[in-house]
């Protein structure tokens, strides 16, 4: 469960969020919708505890996972190692490889340092890292950026399969993709 109550936030003098309130129960998706600079990423950072609100209250699970606006992968590590690091506990490489395959990454690519992967492949790694992690809060900030149109459907289906009980904050400019999550819209 995520709850924002009358949350205000400003970067210096520039107010970004004013009196923002919404709830997102477990297993539900809140779609953060607004123009560039409206504060969508700020909301995810507040939920993740990376920012502190100037006013108002935020209730969010402490066990969190995220696909950030940027991939934020450890460049020298392989896709498998990046996913394993995100999990925080030992998981068989085969299990990670299976998940990466479901997201459309071959085992050959999964064994390469992520610095040698394409933008779309890196995005899939970031997504698998976020979805495999045992957590109650999942922030997905433009999770399908760079993934080719032909395989986006497949990757979205994979994401939907893995949401389970989590509260999800979704930032996505593509309304058709967002609609597949049957979300509650939070206008910013």
């Amino acid at each position: 469960m995520i709850r924002f109550q009358n949350v205000c936030f400003a970067y210096g003098d520039a107010a970004v969020l004013t009196d923002l309130s919404f709830d997102c129960p477990s297993g539900a998706v809140a779609w953060l919708w607004g123009a560039n600079g409206a504060g969508k990423t700020t909301v995810t950072n507040l939920a993740l505890g990376l920012l502190t609100p100037d006013a108002g209250q935020i209730e969010a699970p402490t066990l969190a996972s995220a696909v950030f606006q940027e991939d934020r992968l450890c460049e020298h590590l392989t896709a498998v190692a990046n996913v394993r690091l995100g999990l925080g506990h030992r998981v068989a490489a085969a299990e990670i490889l299976d998940e990466l395959a479901l997201a459309g990454l071959t085992s050959q690519d999964a064994g390469r340092p992520v610095s040698r992967l394409s933008g779309g492949q890196r995005r899939r790694v970031a997504l698998v890292r976020a979805l495999m992690r045992d957590c109650d809060l999942l922030c997905l900030d433009e999770p399908y950026t760079g993934i080719d149109e032909a395989s986006v459907d497949e990757v979205v289906a994979y994401t939907l399969d893995r949401i389970e009980h989590r509260s999800v904050l979704l930032v996505c400019h593509d309304q058709q993709i967002a609609a597949r999550f049957a979300p509650t819209t939070v206008r910013l």
Partner: protein, 264 residues
Amino acid sequence: MTQPSDGAGDPHRRVTGLVPTLVAIVILLAVWQVAAMLVGHDIILVTPARVVVTLVGLLPTASFWATIVHSLVRVVLGFLLAFVFGLSLAWLASTSRWAAALTATTMRLIRSIPVVSFIILLLIWADATWVGLWVSFLMVLPVIYANTEEGFSTRDAKILDMALVFGFTPARRWWAITAPGLMPYLIAATRVGFGLAWKAGVSAEVIGMTRGSIGERLYQAKIFLSTADLFAWTAVIVAASYLCEILALWGLRRGQAALGRYAA
């Protein structure tokens, strides 16, 4: 401050291949030979051929190798101590502004003090046996510190945020994020540091007349006006410095490759 790159893979920063290096060496030797022939006096400027003969004469003697080991141990220990202390102090500086101010001021002071002042002070405090080690340490410490501190301060805050969200343990954060980020800075510091350690260490041995050291041999070359010996031992220092650097860089790169395995 040195550049935070090992230069590997950048064709504009590095002259690659054996041939250009050999050509450069041949040109320098030719210039040296011509200059020595023009001077025409072995005490003023000895020929490269004479230096090679002197060096070949030294090679089979046990004292030659004992002298090298004597100085090598001190310079390498001095460098390693500086490496450990420099890295630790830079880490400390990254944790607190007060620690950063204290360490930065100390390093600035060490950098500003002439090396000879340190040598004389160390000779007043103790005998000359280990002066090379401490002087190497003091000269390399600010170099390692400055580079590593730069590495710590340029860590990607967004990656650190990711580590926070994903609950990385401090050990995993170190092996997966901090250490790989520091590696280019450590490689750059090592490139500069080993040359500096040898130059400063041997200078200390010359001034302190450390028994059984390369510095002592250089001092004797001066006393006996043996320019061939001076050049031969200088060549030994250059070679030893180069080999130390190559070995240290090899070790660091192996460490860099191992980081990936340990991190995961």
